[in-house]
């Protein structure tokens, strides 16, 4: 080995110490500040429209996004199943990251605020005609029993106690509360942690063998499709040992579709053609197992060409 070649590894080792220190300094210097996020948020707010989706990239910046724009990100947006309800996508991103679900095209707007890049894409017309999670309060909820269905009353309850790991969901104050098996027999909008640990804004609706709950909406125009999503709380599903759960959807009392959920499916999607009919939709959740089956579903009535999940 020549003199220089034999020296190179040792020189590289000496130089590397400088590289390590310098790259650390550069990484720290490039950290986007709170004021960068705030400036980007101000710019976004000035042009915010209804049906705008606000997101960030990489996904771990989400708490910083919600810090500056959380008031414009409702639970439906934070826990969306897909982007069909939105017509434009805004993104606050750092370090060149691209938000999940952004169109493959270049953004129609791009501005820099220090370490934060504000971008906007057009998503096309929304296909969502009615969000059935948002419309839950128009529905009637009953508990089906041998002696006939019992009404689950919609009311404002005292805030539920507790919270923490393993609790799955905390009942919202406003919910439909059923008379039997009160701890589990309630229906209401929650944000569920799904198998991917993602937030899902959905209707909490557990299977209660022998006394299932039914959510019945008033008759309405059904558009072209019904988008169904359903899944279980992370800890209930992750061992892959639970019984299957079925979300049964009926139209005017006749079976329309069944979303069959098996442990491991995660947040499952199903599209059901409704052919522009009108009628009353109802939802029931069934399983042979009651414990550790914290099930939640989301549904929306859609029209027009689907943009994809």
């Amino acid at each position: 080995m020549s003199g220089l070649a034999s020296k190179l590894p040792w020189l590289a080792l000496l130089v590397f110490a400088g590289v390590e220190v310098t790259s650390h300094a550069v990484t720290r210097a490039r950290v986007a500040s709170d004021s960068d996020f705030e400036a980007a948020a101000r710019s976004l707010r000035a042009e915010l429209k209804p049906r705008d989706l606000i997101t960030s990239a990489p996904d771990w910046t989400d708490p910083r996004l919600r810090l500056v724009l959380g008031d414009a990100i409702d639970l439906a947006m934070a826990g969306r199943s897909d982007d069909a309800a939105y017509e434009r996508m805004w993104s606050l991103s750092i370090r060149g990251a691209r938000p999940a679900g952004a169109p493959a095209t270049a953004p129609e707007l791009s501005r820099r605020f220090g370490g934060v890049t504000l971008e906007r894409w057009s998503l096309g017309p929304s296909t969502v005609q009615t969000d059935l999670v948002a419309e839950l309060w128009s529905a009637k909820v009953e508990q089906l029993q041998a002696g006939g269905p019992q009404d689950c009353r919609q009311a404002q309850h005292p805030a539920a106690r507790g919270g923490g790991l393993g609790r799955a969901v905390v009942p919202p104050q406003r919910r439909f509360q059923c008379p039997k098996q009160r701890e589990q027999a309630w229906v209401g909008p929650v944000v569920l942690e799904d198998l991917e640990l993602s937030p899902r804004h959905c209707v909490h609706h557990r299977p209660l063998p022998g006394a299932p709950l039914r959510v019945q909406y008033p008759a309405q125009e059904l558009g072209e499709r019904l988008a169904l999503y359903g899944g279980l709380y992370y800890e209930d599903e992750r061992m892959g040992q639970g019984a299957d759960v079925e979300l049964r959807v009926a139209l005017d009392g006749q079976p329309l579709a069944t979303l069959k959920h098996r442990d491991g499916d995660g947040w499952k999607r199903m599209m059901v053609e409704t052919g522009g009919r009108r009628g009353a939709l109802s939802f029931e959740v069934h399983s042979r197992q009651q414990q550790r089956r914290t099930f939640c579903w989301a549904a929306s009535i859609r029209r027009g060409e689907e943009r994809g999940p």
């Binding site: 390590e20 650390h24 990484t27 919600r66 639970l75 507790g162």
Partner: protein, 563 residues
């Protein structure tokens, strides 16, 4: 001829002692930045309970030695041996009588800090005895300047004490190979290690393998050298006899919980650790909670959390010792140290990492469970540094004479600079810190690595909580234990009218420690409070560590952020 091992002089002990004192002083000065971690709060509780037993022992020895009284005081945290918690208890009692410390948590933490300081001393002596003073000193500094080690060195926990104990047993064992006195010391140190933490269980196995190799090579050499050559190592493992005779009695003797129902309780202790619960750990975006765990975990986490310059130097050191051993194997008659210290170094370095790599070993606690490997990693780094100095000295030739004294300090400082900068910056987010190989903290978030555990980062929010709840209030503390949160008040970092609650509905503020599996709590708060907007996000290098939410039903929160 066998080169005599480098002599360790008084000066080396002076250097070691200085390192110890300076490190402990640094830890004491920076401790208040760190909130108490989950496990610390349990050990504080245990230490206070043990202190109560010692008070009873002095007041009424007969009663104190009865099973009901012992069980009353020692039932708490009986899944870990008592020695270190007993030292916490003594420090606590000493502080109560003599007011030695400025904060309530410091006497408990001081034992861990002192262990870390003593470890640096020992690493210096170990390295100096094997390869010379330069190696020892550089190794000790490498050990001090590992960000995760620096964090854990602050805590009232077992991780630095067991690292000290395992290193001490290794040092004694090496010297015991031709000394009965050191064999006895090996047994005594093993007893201390057993009484510290169960990491020590693997030591006899490592030593047995090393001993077999060393004796076999020594016998082989004697055969090849020929007439008159005698083996230089005795085949009787005095060290093992001492470990067996002294270790278990010391474990039981230092642990009053074991004084009654001894066998069944020893069985229960072993069973607890052999069938340990599984916890959540995020690794490359996946939340692992059940075996099989990824084999790569300890290796990648070492790469990601130990400064890479240190690792590269250790790789050089490792190459040198492996090359040296291979050369010795090729020439059976060659003279070499019959104790085979390099083989022992490799065993003590690799065994903890291999053990954690087993897919069935529960993974939690980040990197601390293989800290016992790091002193030997540091010694190898010292060896790499020493070789680099030799090479640079040779390049400089005649000119190096002028630089001879300054060169080690200059190059040593340069090579330690990344570790020093990263360790300084890691505080007080030691468990969130990642290094060059991970792309530092933002890179680790991109890769979906674990961001923290034990909830200790709440301590960094103390000024914010104080400002936001000027009249006091309740805080949902997520991963932090209530005892650890209350310690913030005991330490004067929070007023005592800011209290923890397990109830989101009654909380004025709710915290979420950002670990993958705590997303559940985040969403519970959104549902309960009707909003996903935090009041504050505590970040480290831009990466969210804690989100703080204000309960809209609370009247206690000052400066509530409006839409």
């Amino acid at each position: 001829m066998t080169l005599p091992p480098p002599a360790v002089e008084r000066r080396d002990h002076a250097i070691g002692a200085l390192l110890c004192v300076l490190y402990v002083a640094l830890l004491l000065l920076t401790a208040s930045d760190l909130g108490l971690a989950r496990d610390e709060s349990m050990y504080v509780h245990a230490a206070e309970s043990y202190a109560g037993w010692f008070e009873r022992l002095f007041a009424d020895p007969g009663a104190a030695l009865t099973q009901p009284v012992i069980d009353h005081h020692y039932r708490v945290n009986h899944e870990h041996p008592a020695l270190v918690k007993t030292l916490f208890a003594f420090a606590y009692l000493a502080d109560r009588e003599l007011s030695l410390f400025t904060r309530h948590s410091l006497p408990f933490r001081f034992v861990g800090m002192l262990s870390a300081g003593l470890l640096l001393w020992l690493v210096h002596i170990f390295g100096a005895r094997l390869y010379g003073r330069r190696v020892g000193l550089f190794a000790a500094l490498c050990m001090a300047l590992m960000p995760r080690v620096f964090y854990h060195a602050h805590l009232d926990a077992f991780d630095l004490p067991i690292t000290l104990a395992v290193t001490a047993v290794g040092y004694c064992y090496l010297r015991a190979l031709n000394s009965l006195r050191w064999s006895v010391l090996t047994g005594l140190c093993f007893g201390l290690a057993l009484s510290t933490k169960h990491n020590s269980w693997i030591l006899p196995g490592i030593f047995a393998i090393h001993f077999a190799i060393a004796v076999a090579l020594d016998r082989r050499r004697a055969r090849h050298v020929g007439t008159g050559a005698v083996p230089r190592l005795g085949a009787r493992p005095d060290w093992l006899i001492a470990m067996v005779l002294l270790g278990p009695p010391m474990l039981v003797g230092s642990w009053p919980w074991m004084w009654h129902d001894t066998l069944s309780r020893l069985n229960a202790y072993a069973a607890f650790h052999l069938h340990h619960d599984y916890y959540n750990i995020a690794y490359f975006g996946e939340n692992h909670f059940w075996p099989p765990f990824p084999i790569s975990f300890p290796w990648v986490m070492t790469l990601y959390t130990v400064p890479v310059t240190t690792l590269l130097l250790a790789a050089v050191g490792l190459t040198l010792v492996i090359r040296g051993r291979l050369a010795a194997l090729r020439d059976p008659a060659a003279d070499h140290d019959p104790k085979q210290p390099a083989v022992l170094l490799l065993g003590l370095l690799l065994a903890p990492l291999v053990l954690i790599s087993l897919p069935s070993t529960p993974i939690f606690g980040g990197t601390k469970h293989w800290f016992t490997a790091y002193p030997f990693l540091a010694i190898l780094a010292g060896l790499g540094f020493d070789r680099l100095l030799e090479v640079v000295g040779a390049w400089l030739g005649e000119r190096s004479a002028r630089w001879r004294r300054a060169l080690p300090a200059l190059i040593g400082s340069w090579l330690l600079l990344p570790a020093a900068v990263e360790t300084a910056h890691s505080h007080p987010f030691g468990l969130s810190h990642y290094g060059f190989a991970a792309g530092f903290v933002p890179g680790s978030a991109d890769r979906g690595m674990n961001r923290q555990f034990w909830g200790f980062t709440t301590g960094s929010l103390a000024p914010f909580l104080y400002e936001t709840l000027p009249q006091g209030g309740r805080v949902y503390v997520c991963d932090m234990t209530h005892a650890a949160f209350r310690q913030l008040a005991h330490d004067g970092l929070l007023p005592d009218n800011i209290v923890p609650t397990a109830d989101l509905a009654r909380a004025d503020l709710a915290l979420v420690h950002h670990e993958h599996h705590f997303a559940e709590v985040d969403y519970q708060i959104w549902t309960s409070f009707g909003s996903s907007q935090p009041l504050k996000v505590l970040s480290y290098d831009g990466v969210p560590i804690i989100s703080v939410y204000a309960n809209p039903a609370s009247g206690a929160v000052s400066g509530l952020k409006g839409p």
